[in-house]
Symmetry: C2
Subunit: 342 residues, 2 copies
DNA sequence: GACTTCTGCTCCTTGGCCCCC
DNA sequence: CGGGGGCCAAGGAGCAGAAGT
């Protein structure tokens, strides 16, 4: 391919291509990047040939700086290894690919304070948009975050939040509270009366909303106010909370609501490890409907979130100039064997 | 924060900071990016203050073009929603964070031909390194890929492959064949004599190596040559292959080896859906030890791969100038309830 | 004479404008 | 007159060498 590798240690530049083809920089640029202006077929071919021979690839950094905008979108998640974020990221990446954009990923590692630092760092890329998928802590440094977001927007970047709204940003809303409300009501309808919620840290929007919705719904269905245990929203913390709970004693017939599927799945494992029979003995429900939920036993009752779809929507919100907030996705409650009813 | 938002629509530049602080561009640059040359404390402070006041963040594109290298590492996976890749990505992202690098993610969507296109596209970023985590198809356009890789390297970028070696690249090796060999031998030792391997497409290195290792090991332990079913390496294809297999008839006591955990987990679900009892009736084993494996029942027999650790190693290989190939990680066989023995 | 600061050039690409056929 | 090619400045930042105190 590269029989004329240009100078070693340096990628061939547009300059190299132009010289090789015997045309001007401008002409080469017009051929290789679909400008509006036309170039005669003969020239076009010469340039293309030269580019192929040299193995030329446009330097995106240079393009970004010349065009004043980069073909990049940043995605901030809590932990990319968490299937919830993995599926969202997949949706974002897929849609980005179709839009010809490159995705940059950063993780907060569940520390809400890191989010500000990440937005700041990512801002250096002058990304087309930033998707904030990690749930935000209400107690975090909201002012600093707001300032960073404003800074991103002042450079033409769009900020999109998934789930919990943030002033001045585009939001992909999905009814956490309503979904959890229906879940609570349906489960109460199955006969459950006492429940425990394995929630996230107090102040975490997603968790707070789901907790509130569930509590109200469960009560509406005739259940009593749930006991609340807190931990991080992770499989391991779900496991730990459930283990702790079991040591303190949990009555058979109790319903355990994991604030998200990963938490619920951790709880299921804890139950099993303790010799209890998840489903029959103690019921468990989650939220999100991550793919893993199909493969565990008993099947996990949950509220379905079209994660990949949400990711794709977030990407579009980040790049479409004339985006209008779509109707909030409606969530379906999926009753499975982990809550057979009393 | 930004009480002097500079011109609207544009991020503050180094120029703005220098003017605000009343110093030269060079001085401002040296303060804000740790050059080797020193700047008097008084100036340093003035510059820093001005930068903070303006909310200045270096334009990484401009830096990349000026320095000739970007603080970026690209990661190519098959599908970020797949927990296997998710955990690897987590390791990469974590290590990148510590090294002050930004990670760009692209997915091949399991089409090996897309890999070439992605490397080419990502090459435009002039990344410090590219980590190829998606398994390669031997039948793919090896020449084109080799050319792209050479191009990346000629610009000072390092290419790292995970698992399957590729000429001229740094490799994070882990003994697929040896691990599968031991797995096969151990399982034969548990009494299994007939087996089916749910493999990936023929030519896919990871799959081929594991298949070969398993076949040899299973034979060494007294088992007979396995039947081979093929599909993509995904949960859904594992499910589909197993379903097909069951329709054709599978004898109780058969061992099913899913070429990776996701495949094995799909097979487990297919068995369950068909009313068979995974574990007792038909045994199942996987490979990778993804986190999900802990939460399914029966526990999945598998070969442990320290995925996040491998991801971190890959990142280091991509950035450390004087990197030396670490000893290949040794893999542990984990026998769980999905293969109780005959 | 020893530092530190400043000036000027460079990186790679795009886009406006001029000019030629 | 119009289609199409070429020249040149801009865009944000780094680095080497010259100049300042």
């Amino acid at each position: 391919m590269t029989d004329t590798p240009a100078r070693i240690g340096t990628a061939p530049t547009l300059h190299d291509v132009a010289r090789e083809a015997g045309v001007s920089l401008a002409t080469a640029s017009r051929v290789l990047n679909g400008s509006t202006r036309k170039v005669a077929e003969a020239y076009r071919e010469r340039v293309q040939t030269a580019a192929d021979r040299l193995g030329y690839t446009a330097n995106v950094s240079a393009q970004a700086i010349a065009r004043g905008t980069s073909a990049t979108v940043a995605l901030i998640v809590a932990d990319i290894a968490d299937p919830y974020f993995g599926q969202i990221a997949s949706g974002v990446a897929h849609a980005a690919e179709e839009a010809g954009l490159i995705v940059t990923v950063a993780m907060t590692e569940r520390d809400p304070r890191r989010e500000v630092a990440l937005v700041r760092a990512l801002r250096g890329q002058r990304p087309r948009g930033i998707v904030l998928a990690a749930s935000r802590d209400a107690s975090g440094d909201a002012d600093a975050l707001t300032a960073e977001i404003a800074a991103v927007q002042s450079t033409g970047g769009r900020v999109v939040t998934l789930g919990s709204a943030l002033p001045g940003t585009r939001v992909i809303a999905y009814g956490n509270e309503a979904g959890a409300h229906e879940l609570g009501e349906r489960l109460a309808g199955l006969g459950y009366r006492s429940s425990v919620v394995l929630a996230g840290p107090e102040g975490l929007r997603t968790s707070d909303d789901r907790l509130a919705g569930f509590t109200a719904g469960f009560a509406a269905g005739g259940g009593s106010a749930p006991r609340v245990e807190r931990g991080q929203i992770s499989r391991d913390d779900g496991f730990a909370s459930m283990t702790r709970l079991l040591q303190e004693g949990v009555d058979p017939g109790t319903l355990v609501f994991g604030i998200s599927d990963v938490v619920a799945i951790g709880a299921l494992s804890a139950l099993r490890d303790a010799g209890r029979q998840p489903g029959r003995d103690i019921a468990v429900a989650g939220f999100d409907d991550i793919a893993t939920g199909r493969d565990i036993t008993p099947g996990l009752t949950t509220v379905r979130l079209p994660l990949e779809e949400l990711g794709a929507q977030a990407l579009h919100a980040a790049v479409d100039p004339d985006w209008t907030a779509p109707a909030p996705v409606d969530l379906d409650v999926l009753i499975r064997e982990s809550t057979p009813g009393l």
